[in-house]
């Protein structure tokens, strides 16, 4: 098997903060101004035109018209396998596979950009590959009513990355965007390798196709872990039983199946070189320079390695019930699970006063448990018309049970300006949003700092879950003759989202919450920290600074992140293929597909899904793009 893909892209949009973010100006321009007035974003000399007093907030048209970004990935996937039947039912199979790509990336901050007047260059050239060598031996046997199958195998996985990072500032000849034209350029080499060696085995039994049992065992050795603790054995057992075939059931019941599983999965460190501290040269045009190597390639931040870094182990216990009722027109699927993740490897942010910005830790124990339910049915089924419906609901409860000894809380992400954090804290949900509130006294009065005249901010406290505990989906399929319609709704509930956009929008006076006081000033009343009555009139001239100061109180920018969306509508027509049977067509379908059509419910001014990253930053929104609504036509034919 061989596959070759080429993927190219240019001008991928960037989100995040104000720099080079094309979304900034349309969101942040005064409500009374037309964003098109900023066109074309550059002057006669090709320099960015100023549109506000913060040069880091790039004119969106300048980004679109002058910034350059392109990347190209050439990917090759190849696999070869050979199997040999050594004896009846005994098969030896060897497989070698490789997934390899070459990647080129170039990002130009052009000459004339206000925050970097002479321009900047960033480039990446890398080759990345993952190679697997797998050997398995399988044996199958049916002894009367017992089916048996065994597997033993071994695998070696090697991942490697070779990368050159080029970065520099100042194009000597303006507007000429070559690495060689940089006033100051640096090329850094990055090489990463990691191996995982494995042996594994499994045994499957089934009795009369009523009772199934699978037992597995696997041992992995990880090169990225401490040599003294780099091996992990993990087993699993998985059984199911078709009750309805053994026990007499009412006629309405077609199938009842029970299942249960216990499984462990081990994992190594995602990045190599997390075990031993090293020192790297720092690019210099003068004397040689050296510092602690960064433990996050490219970040330039000194991090601590962990000589005892050991494997992650997650243990899942699961039970489920599946039922088919009423002539298979109603089905029900219920699952309960409990997953404990032990010794999760986290590159934890630590106080810089430790001399380092982060440390690799086997960070304790996190529990996820929950239920998942799926109900589906066919209320109507006639020759010409049918309606299928299904509804699923999932609830996940997670909790940080334990962290490293002596550490009660670890920081996973933070906003620009440290206006809010995502933390794991013992006893709270994982990925909890943490921040400040406005200090109130016991009577609910705002407490003011008498010297500055601003409300006092509380100490950091948990503000809510960043990951939604409750999710649902509701799908309906209608079919009339050759026409079918699928409508999918989905929703998430119970999470919070912190809006970085709104911090800026408040600073710039774009939100309704900044209206009070614009005519005659804003009267503040409350108490001082010693409990005396406090009042002050913020003059109109001081309102801008007053509202800008809101960013010191995280709660003001925190919202319920729940939503219900009309996610997808597909209208399809099954073409009468037999009429064109001369082409030997089996079937042909033409479909109109629309995605992200409507937000039916939300509690925010923005799309609650526009968080700026899916990883630890879920729950932090920052001047991003909402999910794009898309329409398409889809033709599929089968020969």
């Amino acid at each position: 098997m061989a596959q070759y893909n080429i993927e190219t892209a240019n001008k991928r949009p960037s989100a995040g903060d104000a720099l080079a973010n094309p979304n900034w100006s349309p969101y942040m321009i005064a409500n009374s101004a037309d964003v098109r007035w900023l066109k074309p974003g550059y002057d006669a000399n090709g320099y960015e035109t100023v549109w506000n007093d913060a040069s880091v907030a790039t004119n969106g048209y300048f980004v679109v018209n002058k910034f350059q970004q392109d990347d190209r990935k050439n990917r090759f996937i190849g696999q070869a396998s050979l199997s040999y039947e050594l004896a009846k039912n005994l098969v030896l199979k060897g497989t070698v596979s490789q997934d390899h790509y070459d990647y080129n990336y170039r990002n130009i901050t052009p000459t004339g950009t206000l925050y970097a007047l002479t321009g900047q260059y960033a480039g990446i050239k890398s080759d990345v590959s993952e190679t697997n060598a797998l050997a398995t031996l399988t044996y199958n046997k049916q002894i009367k009513e017992v089916g048996l199958s065994f597997l033993a195998g071994t695998n070696k996985r090697r991942s490697s990355l070779n990368e050159l990072d080029q970065a520099g500032t100042g194009f000597t000849i303006p507007f000429f965007y070559s690495y060689n034209n940089l006033a100051s350029g640096t090329t850094l080499a990055l090489a990463q390798r990691q191996d995982v060696n494995s042996i594994f085995g499994s045994a499957d039994f089934n009795y009369k196709s009523l009772f199934f049992l699978t037992v597995t065992g696997r041992n992995d050795w990880y090169s990225t872990l401490s040599p003294s603790n780099n091996s992990k054995f993990y087993p699993s057992i998985n059984g199911s039983f078709i009750v309805s075939d053994v026990v007499d059931m009412p006629r309405a019941v077609n199938l009842v199946k029970l299942r249960g599983a216990y499984a462990q999965v081990g994992q190594g460190a995602p990045e190599p070189y997390a075990v031993n501290l090293t020192y790297s040269n720092v690019p210099s045009s003068g004397r040689p320079l050296q510092n602690v190597s960064s433990n996050v390639p490219g970040s330039g931040l000194a991090g601590i390695t962990n000589a005892n870094l050991g494997p992650v182990l997650s243990t899942t216990t699961e039970g489920g019930l599946e039922a088919q009722l009423l002539d298979n027109r109603l089905s029900l699927d219920l699952t309960y699970y409990n997953r404990l993740t032990d010794n999760d490897i986290v590159n934890t942010t630590i106080s810089p006063t430790s001399g380092y910005n982060s440390v690799y830790l086997n960070a304790g124990k996190v529990r996820n448990r929950g239920i998942e339910a799926l109900v589906s049915g066919t209320p109507i089924r006639t020759a010409n018309f049918s309606w299928n419906t299904s509804y699923n609901l999932a609830y996940n409860d997670n909790k940080v049970l334990q962290l490293v000894e002596g550490i009660n809380s670890i920081n996973l992400a933070s906003t620009v300006g440290n206006w809010a954090y995502i933390n794991n804290t013992v006893g709270q949900s994982a990925f909890e949003i943490v921040g400040t509130r406005i200090q109130k006294d016991e009577n609910g009065n705002t407490v003011f700092d008498a010297a500055s005249g601003y409300p006092v901010a509380t100490a950091l406290q948990p503000l809510g879950k960043s990951v939604a505990p409750l999710t649902m989906g509701f799908s309906n399929d209608f079919r009339y003759k050759r026409l079918s319609l699928n409508v999918l709704l989905d929703g998430k509930f119970g999470n919070k989202v912190f809006s970085i956009s709104e911090v800026y929008e408040t600073r710039l006076g774009l939100l309704k919450s900044t209206l009070p006081g614009r005519e005659n000033g804003l009267q503040l009343t409350g108490v001082t920290s010693t409990g005396d009555a406090y009042s002050r009139l913020v003059p109109v001239s001081g309102l801008r600074a007053y509202y800008d100061n809101y960013k010191n109180y995280s709660e003001l920018f925190l919202h319920d992140g729940g939503f219900i969306k009309l996610r997808q509508v597909i209208l399809a027509y099954n073409l009468p293929a037999f009429q064109i049977s001369s082409f030997k067509l089996q079937s042909a379908t033409i479909a109109f597909v629309a995605r992200n059509l409507l937000i039916l419910m939300k509690h925010t001014n923005f799309d609650p899904e526009q968080s700026f990253s899916n990883s630890n930053y879920q729950g932090l929104e920052s001047i991003g793009l909402p999910r794009t609504r898309s329409y398409g036509l889809n033709l599929s034919v089968k020969f």
Binding site: A135, P288, S354, R544, D548
Partner: protein, 508 residues
């Protein structure tokens, strides 16, 4: 067939065994081919010197009323607007993982080898310099337990009282200065300050001792006298050749270029046309007015206006210089005609950064004489200081910073220490100090807090965080509340709230 089967099973078995045995090369696989496992102390020391010099709070240029901006964010330093207070923590977050941890690595690498005593001494003195810059701005900071994240798994170091930090820094300077031995090896060319010259390191150590000792005049005048006397007896910097400075290059890597010049250029003045300054920066009216009023010959060295907004058409004419008031919230109509830093001196990328000058040493000696702690004649020491301060611009730029001996003498003669009360003379000394120490705004900020001079009027800009008072310190990073909660809370409980008005130990 059966035999073949057995062979195959055997083969797989051997395969499995070899594979598991293969973990032997894991250590090699998990070794970064682009990094080394041990430090080269010289290289890390040079890095620590660059980082220590580069870590400054630029906003202090505004606070000390040298510069300002009509823009609220960039103008924070001169306006102390409440909403921007957290930007003032930048130097704290940068100090530890860079200069301070680096110097710690160096100390750990050389401390046990008696032959490396000069390297150890230089590193200890440099550590004092870096910590003194940090504690002077923020007050109590992690000191004794800091930078032990790797060696001691100490991720949440305690904040130490500034009183204890000062006592230890002065002790360190004393010990390091006496341990220097000209017969033993040095860092040589890896030492950007003195090229390994132990006599000069000694003068730098005693000069720092004088600086830090004098800091204590308000809180513990006896200790101040003890340390100042000791420093003067040990020998401080008085000659231009002994000035502690780091030289830079005009191009190449950013770290090799003058950090203050680079930062000011990149953030504001690179367009060099007086008009499109990205952050709206200009010299502040207070500074320019003072230089004009005192007919200071440095005005034309420090300051330019751009004629007609044309790039690089600078004019240093005395009469044309005017600063921008710090109370503006929008770009003024005459913005393009206002003075800004001279690209040939203050913004010169290959100009040296002065870490400790002869002028500063003379002004501190003047104070010691005024207090009767030394036999020196205060007026002579003062004039020596003024003279050294005028000369030092020639070190920054030999071509565009040099003043003729005639002009220097004329200014010195017109600005002698006038007889008066102790307070009046202190005012004279530390107003001149403020002009002479530019652009090292942090040292001006420290001296202002200690002596009250120059008599600047704080800016009562709308929405300021101090109720219109002068800031007395700057803020710890908000992230410390999250990452080092208990230690942070203990520091706040002891020192006072994390605000601009809480006073550090020596400012009480």
């Amino acid at each position: 067939m059966h035999r073949f089967f057995l062979k195959c099973v055997l083969l797989v078995g051997v395969g499995v065994l070899t594979l598991t045995a293969c973990t032997k090369d894991f250590e090699e696989i998990n070794t970064n081919p682009n990094a080394v496992g041990t430090i080269t102390p010289e290289y890390v020391f040079t890095k620590a010197q660059y980082d220590g010099v580069a870590n400054m709070l630029y906003l202090l240029l505004g606070t000390m009323q040298y510069t300002t901006s009509f823009n609220d964010v960039a103008g924070f330093g001169s306006k102390y607007i409440a909403s921007q207070v957290n930007s003032s923590s930048a130097a704290f977050s940068t100090a530890y993982p860079n200069a301070l941890n680096e110097i710690n690595l160096v100390i750990n690498a050389v401390k046990d080898d008696p032959a490396k005593v000069n390297m150890l001494a230089a590193a200890r003195i440099w550590r004092v310099y870096c910590y003194s810059r940090l504690t002077d701005v923020y007050g109590d900071v992690p000191y004794f337990q800091a930078n032990q994240g790797y060696t001691g798994a100490q991720y949440t170091p305690a904040y130490d009282p500034q009183k204890d930090i000062y006592a230890d820094m002065l002790k360190e300077l004393d010990e390091a200065a006496t341990s220097l031995d000209p017969a033993k090896p040095t860092f040589g060319a890896a030492d950007l300050l003195y090229n390994g010259n132990t006599a000069q390191w000694k003068k730098f150590a005693y000069s720092l001792m004088l600086r830090l000792g004098m800091r204590l005049t308000k809180v513990d005048v006896a200790a101040a006298q003890t340390w100042a006397t000791k420093a003067l007896a040990g020998g401080v910097i008085t000659e231009d050749i002994d000035i502690a400075k780091v030289n830079y290059l005009a191009s190449g890597q950013i770290i090799n270029q003058n950090p203050l010049a680079y930062n000011l250029l990149i953030s504001d003045y690179i367009a060099a046309n007086g008009n499109t300054n990205q952050e709206g920066g200009k010299y502040q009216k207070v500074f320019i007015d003072y230089l004009k009023q005192t007919r200071d010959p440095r005005l034309g060295i420090i300051s330019v206006v751009y004629t007609g907004g044309t790039p690089n058409q600078t004019d240093t004419a005395f009469a044309k210089q005017q600063g921008m008031p710090a109370n503006l919230s929008a770009k003024p109509a005459n913005f393009a005609q206002l003075s800004e830093p001279n690209p040939k001196t203050v913004l010169l990328l290959n100009s040296p950064r002065l870490v400790f000058t002869a002028a500063e040493s003379y002004f501190l000696q003047t104070e010691a004489a005024l207090r009767g702690w030394s036999s020196g004649a205060a007026p002579t020491l003062y004039s020596n200081g003024v003279r050294a301060a005028l000369r030092q611009w020639a070190i920054i730029s030999p071509t565009d910073g040099a003043l003729s001996a005639q002009r220097i003498t004329a200014y010195v003669n017109n600005n002698q220490l006038v007889a008066g009360s102790f307070e009046e003379q202190m005012q004279q000394v530390y107003t001149q100090f403020w002009v002479s120490i530019f652009p090292d705004a942090q040292e001006a900020f420290a001296t202002y807090r200690r002596t009250g001079y120059p008599a600047l009027t704080p800016n009562n800009y709308p929405g300021n965080a101090t109720g219109g008072q002068f800031p007395r310190r700057f803020l710890y990073p908000v992230s410390e509340q999250n990452l080092n909660t208990a230690a942070y809370n203990a520091a706040i409980a002891r020192q006072g709230p994390n605000t601009l008005l809480t006073r550090v130990y020596w400012d009480k």
